[in-house]
Subunit: 199 residues, 3 copies
């Protein structure tokens, strides 16, 4: 559980950086950058907790998440001139965060007695809804609805976790395999520029 | 109750089709189309359940709704070249869905002890908030804030249901009259191109 | 408590007017103007109550808030030709509302056992999230993410309230000082056109 918590915080930092960076590019002031960073980092898990009825949500129970998001956003804002250098490595941390968020969200939904479809949905939402909120606030069509197979990576990982769990695989093993799947699909999609069919 | 459930599923399918179609027109990939279809179909009722405190919301308790939304969205995506033929008939199913959603939302709010205004609001929200979320995700000003009297049809139906209920009309009769009002006003508004006063 | 309730209703009316006015400028019909007015007025507090788990939210428990928002929105819509005359005085009522909302939100979060950061966040959210929802519905980047130190005024007031409370200052005194801080910073920011650093 300790490793998952550490990965969760790493993912939170990576998501906050990506959100803050969108704020910088949209010419927002410091407050806007903080809001975008924080919402991107904790928005998905917070919405999941609202829907599951686990209230107050994780982000208000353990303030570490929001402190990290704020610190990272300030750092991004302060280094906005040099941020291009960080964009590439950030993609890797972002992928780690995505895998962790999907596993945490799917596992929590199963614990809350949701069905298979609901559990996968909650996993995908944990990984992606923060970025959707970021894009709504930045007044752009959510990237995830238009580009790459970011979401498909989450669906694959969440579904795998549900299937392994139903077939009696040990939770820790299932979580590791599922997170690895998300991260691998995500990195391959970036590398080979995969995308879903489009109209 | 069985008839209402069937009408509810028909409305869900119609709303999903309208949401998926917006996704297709906005050049989204398959995942985006699925998200828009699903959010349009279950977003209003899910928000209502969050506000009433009925958690997890109906859409996570009975997975039929989301399965229908996903299947319909995939069908729309696959038939996107021929979808124009379905647009006209879809308006009728959409009206049926609207009437059903308003009745379900208003009734549920009354059961949860909300006042008259709150009950009407919850009915209107059940019928319209999914479409608002669809338009936010598609980065367009919600249609409902600008066009026709879509929302007024919901207000009329919700108010009628509250008034009939307070005057001792049997729930089934009140529900039928209320849904019929929404559907009728909606269809007349389309036919005669009615709209509310504008600045 | 009575004074706070009256200030709260004044703030609700001012926020509703600002929301309705955005709807008018965006060429929305009467329904759109009502929605924007209402969402701006009660959206922040409603989101706070969802996150704190105080459900149904204040806006559905005490219908006075939504009645006021509706009446004010209709008045704005009816007087849209003459509204420019009201814009300046409205800023003062808006500042009063902001101070009151921040104090109410922060206090409520403390009552619900949130930590210091969470309490300040809930205060800021109570004061600002309604305006963010208004801007999302009007399809514009939230003003608060780009302009002036509207949000900073809320942060200052919320933080002051938490600090005073932890140092044993009487709640009524702390609330008054905190609200006064928000209002003062807000009015000074308008007067001197202050803003936060930008990229």
């Amino acid at each position: 559980m300790n490793i998952i918590y550490i990965l969760d915080l790493i993912g939170t930092a990576a998501f906050a950086a990506s959100g803050a960076w969108v704020g910088v590019r949209k010419q927002m002031d410091l407050f806007g950058v903080l809001v975008l960073g924080t919402v991107t980092a904790v928005g998905g898990g917070t919405l999941r907790d609202l829907l599951l009825g686990d209230i107050p949500p994780f982000s208000l129970k353990d303030e570490a998440y929001i402190y990290i998001a704020i610190v990272v956003s300030v750092v991004v804002f302060a280094n906005r001139k040099r941020f291009e250098f960080f964009e590439k490595p950030l993609l890797y941390f972002d992928a780690i965060g995505l895998g962790t968020f999907v596993v945490i969200g799917t596992t929590k939904a199963i614990d809350f007695q949701l069905g298979a479809l609901g559990a996968v949905l909650m996993g995908v939402m944990t990984g992606t809804a923060g970025g959707v909120m970021r894009d709504l606030l930045a007044n752009q069509v959510p990237l995830i609805l238009r580009r790459e197979i970011y979401a498909s990576a989450c669906v694959a990982g969440g579904a795998l976790l549900v299937i392994l769990g139903e077939n009696g695989v040990a939770p820790a093993t299932a979580a590791m395999l599922s997170a690895a799947t998300v991260i691998l699909v995500r990195l391959l999609a970036i590398h080979y520029d995969w995308s879903l069919p489009k109209p």
